[in-house]
């Protein structure tokens, strides 16, 4: 009996392990959550962004992005791999190094582009 219970609980634990990542993936993060989240874009670590608390000042404030990047694809490319334009930059290549998924890079681009 005891054995049955423990094997059932083992199966349940295993099942939970495999299901959990799926559920986590299923819960969509908003564009803002991806941009601000410390375990996602964490853009505030270095950039002032209107609406974000406790920003760093390592990079420039993210303002007037439409004026600075008339072509939105250029902004996306900068987030995806900033070393392309400046090999010395401290900015992590978020897309190239897989810090964010392609979709998350899109989300950050969309969010920042409204600023």
């Amino acid at each position: 009996m005891k054995k049955t219970i423990s094997s059932i609980s083992a199966v349940a634990t295993l099942a939970a392990l495999f299901v959990m990542p799926l559920q986590a993936g299923a819960k969509e993060m908003t564009d803002e959550e991806v941009t601000f989240g410390r375990k996602a874009g964490n853009c505030l670590a270095c950039h002032m962004i209107p609406g974000g608390n406790l920003p760093g000042n390592i990079g420039p404030p993210l303002l007037a992005m439409k004026a600075r990047f008339p072509n939105k694809a250029d902004l996306r490319a900068q987030i995806w791999d900033a070393t392309e334009k400046n090999p010395n930059t401290i900015m992590p290549p978020f897309g190239k190094h897989g810090v964010l998924t392609e979709k998350q890079v899109d989300q950050v681009t969309n969010y920042i582009y409204t600023k």
Binding site: F18, N88, H97, G98, T101, E102
Partner: protein, 106 residues
């Protein structure tokens, strides 16, 4: 009919791959066991990174996790994760060449 079947099958497999790869390149070099070749590539890349002190934080645990997934029969997920680990090691290898000659910019 045969042709149609092949097309349908290859479309299916491509879609499946694209889904699992998460946009990453498919590093499988055509061996009969896709996991074996994927994990081998990841492991040898990671080992080379370790030897020159350039390994990334998560590559080792990704390799471990990929092996667990494979053992649990989740081959597709295991291959995808092994490919991700390999991708990390390739990026670390690219960094190594630059880091070797790094110096002050002043």
């Amino acid at each position: 009919m045969k042709k149609l079947l092949i097309t349908a099958l290859s479309v299916f497999s491509l879609t499946a791959q694209a889904g699992f790869m998460d946009g990453a390149h498919n590093w499988n070099n055509g061996s009969s066991d896709p996991f074996k070749s994927a994990i081998k590539a990841a492991e040898s890349g990671y080992k080379a990174n370790l030897a020159v002190n350039m390994a990334w934080r998560d590559t080792g645990s990704m390799i471990k996790e990929a092996k667990k997934l494979n053992a649990a029969g989740k081959t597709a997920a295991a291959v995808a994760l092994a490919n991700k680990a390999h991708h990390q090691s390739m990026n670390a290898t690219a960094q190594t060449a630059l880091a070797e000659s790094a110096g002050p910019r002043f």
